[in-house]
């Protein structure tokens, strides 16, 4: 009995594709992204200090100094809190907000887009018009008015991001579903009596998941940026809870005398967004060759 290559090869060799020259860049990016996630998830274990604990005698200490028995690897802020610990907890907030808003807006947008394309008629006209309207108003304006009315806070930020971003997914899902719904396997399934929900989730969704994953990745980077911007303006996550955005607005005042307070969270934010963006571009090249 002849064994195929895959069966005869040792177990680890089957994983060799991961490090194949064409995949190296994406795998490297995924590892970097995973490191960010791990650092954020395990922030309570990794963080050397309590991110809320003030140490007024150890204020504004530059990176690498020890003050009153505390070693500040990345310095301390204007209230003597450890910048490293706050950055870790801040990244946790950024990622939590980005994940929640991406998942919520993808769920709404994909359902709306698939339904509009598949059903057609008035539902299609009304829903797709609505996405056009929302997309034509810059999200920051919607954020300003919603926060002015409902007040700032993490939950409201997620709400705003979901309200403003679901149409992005709806557009993509709509265009893709439109192409698919005239395909023989979809029409056949309909004639066999499958329900709309069954057809959309079993036949359509698996075939449009690629372009949607690309959009979701690029949106993820954007959501991190938006959360930070809103928190920077004082409209998002409120102090003393650390977020990469509000650390920057706190550190801005001390920028000239204590550069590290604003510089370090910004660098982390920049690195995180850059990794996500490059990952999105890589995914696009693979999964959605036609896309932009």
């Amino acid at each position: 009995m002849a064994l195929t290559d895959a069966e005869s090869a040792p177990r680890f060799a089957r994983l060799r594709w991961i490090w194949a020259p064409g995949n190296r860049k994406l795998v490297f990016l995924l590892i970097l992204f995973a490191l960010f996630i791990l650092a954020a998830v395990f922030a309570p274990l990794i963080a050397p200090e309590d991110p809320f604990r003030q140490n007024l005698l150890g204020r504004l200490k530059p990176p690498g100094t020890t003050a009153r028995g505390t070693f500040f690897l990345l310095g301390s802020d204007e209230l003597g809190r450890d910048v490293l610990s706050r950055v870790l907890y801040g990244a946790r907030i950024s990622l939590a907000v980005a994940f929640s808003s991406v998942i919520a807006s993808a769920l709404i947008g994909v359902s709306v887009g698939m339904f509009a394309a598949y059903r057609g008629g008035i539902a299609e006209a009304v829903l797709m018009r609505l996405t056009d309207i929302i997309l034509s108003v810059p999200g920051i304006l919607i954020a300003l008015i919603v926060v002015a009315a409902l007040g700032p806070g993490m939950i409201n930020v997620i709400l705003v991001l979901t309200i403003t971003r679901w149409p992005r997914y709806a557009r993509v899902a709509y265009a893709q579903t439109l192409q698919l719904s005239s395909q023989p396997f979809v029409r056949l399934s309909k004639h066999m009596g499958s329900s709309t929900v069954y057809i959309l989730t079993r036949h359509v969704l698996p075939n449009i998941i690629g372009p949607l994953a690309v959009v979701a990745t690029l949106e993820f980077g954007l959501m991190i940026l938006w959360e930070a911007s809103l928190s920077f303006l004082g409209l998002g996550v409120q102090p003393p809870t650390p977020s990469l955005g509000n650390m920057l607005s706190g550190g801005r005042v001390y920028a000239a005398s204590a550069w590290w307070i604003a510089t370090i969270p910004g660098l982390v934010l920049f690195a995180l967004i850059a990794v996500v963006n490059v990952m999105g571009d890589e995914l696009r090249d693979r999964l959605d060759p036609k896309g932009r």
């Binding site: 034509s136 108003v137 920051i140 008015i145 409209l235």
Partner: protein
């Protein structure tokens, strides 16, 4: 073309109406609009008096129509913090935001378009990592952070440019660059994609075959066709820049509309926030409309396909 413009105009009108309705009901959704409008320590009788004087004890539909009528007459109410008409406040701030957004747009175009062309034409060159990195940075840098870094380097460190305010003509340079970097990256990417698309087309092969010099080909054939997606993007990008100015204006203490809106949220001055947001939304919708019309005008295929 006429029917196409009319259809788009109608859609823009619906969008403006939708935004107005959203803003009106958002105010009511939060429970008591007086609580939003009144200062924090107001007594119950005072609240009742304010409610009556603002007409908030009337039926909702009457209030809604009244609100719409006010917007039509450009009456956006009075600022609670400064008790002057919101429209006066907006007029005094508008020139600064326009100046900042337009200079950022020019900056983004002047840098982004050549960058995109270079990235497309010499895309297999070894040094292409440099423009790609610039574009990635432009796309990923949070504007408020790059703003702070610019202040640290060019204002505090080198002392070349003012760090904030709008007192001298060169005050605009740092906010302009901070705001324009993202659009620059967008333009470069769009230009690169459009040029690469065009490069693979038959007419380019023909031009090559008949021996048109490379530079002439880029200038005469490629640039013209690749500019189509860019022209239509201009209006949309200007809308994004106007909205994005809120963050940059806060960093640089630039006395524009964005700073006004953010300060008004802090001061719980809802009518001002509402005025700025409505103006921004109407501007964005108009620019979208303009982009659609431009697109139809530049490329007749669009109006046949979509406008019908």
């Amino acid at each position: 073309m006429g029917a196409f413009i009319l259809k788009r105009l109608f859609q823009a009108f619906i969008a403006v109406f939708g935004v107005l309705t959203f803003v009106f009901f958002l105010q009511r959704l939060t429970g008591d609009p007086v609580a939003l409008l009144a200062p924090v320590n107001t007594t119950a009788e005072d609240l009742e008096r304010i409610r009556h004087s603002l007409g908030l004890d009337r039926p909702l539909i009457v209030q809604y129509l009244d609100f719409l009528w006010g917007v039509v007459r450009l009456d956006l109410g009075r600022s609670l913090a400064q008790s002057i008409p919101v429209s006066d406040l907006i007029w005094s701030r508008l020139p600064y935001t326009l100046w900042l957004a337009v200079s950022s747009l020019v900056f983004a175009l002047v840098l982004g378009v050549p960058l995109g062309v270079i990235m497309a034409v010499w895309r297999r060159h070894k040094l292409m990592a440099i423009p790609s990195t610039i574009v990635l940075a432009g796309q990923s840098l949070p504007t408020f952070w790059s703003g702070i870094m610019f202040i640290l380097i060019f204002a505090v460190g080198l002392g070349w440019l003012p760090s904030s305010g709008a007192r001298t003509p060169n005050s605009v340079i740092l906010p302009m660059v901070a705001l324009g970097l993202f659009s620059m990256a967008t333009f470069a990417r769009v230009m690169r994609t459009a040029m690469i698309d065009e490069l693979s087309k038959d007419y380019i092969r023909t031009a090559r075959a008949k021996g048109v010099p490379k530079n002439a080909m880029i200038a005469r054939h490629l640039m013209r066709n690749s500019l189509i997606p860019l022209i239509t993007m201009l209006a949309l990008e200007l809308a994004n820049l106007l909205a994005g100015a809120a963050v940059v204006e806060t960093v640089f203490a630039w006395p524009g509309l964005g700073q006004l809106a953010v300060q008004s949220i802090g001061a719980r001055d809802f009518p001002v926030v509402q005025g700025v947001v409505l103006l921004g939304a109407v501007t964005a919708i108009s620019l979208n409309f303009l982009a659609d019309v431009l697109y139809g005008a530049v490329d007749p295929r669009i109006r046949v396909g979509r406008g019908g």
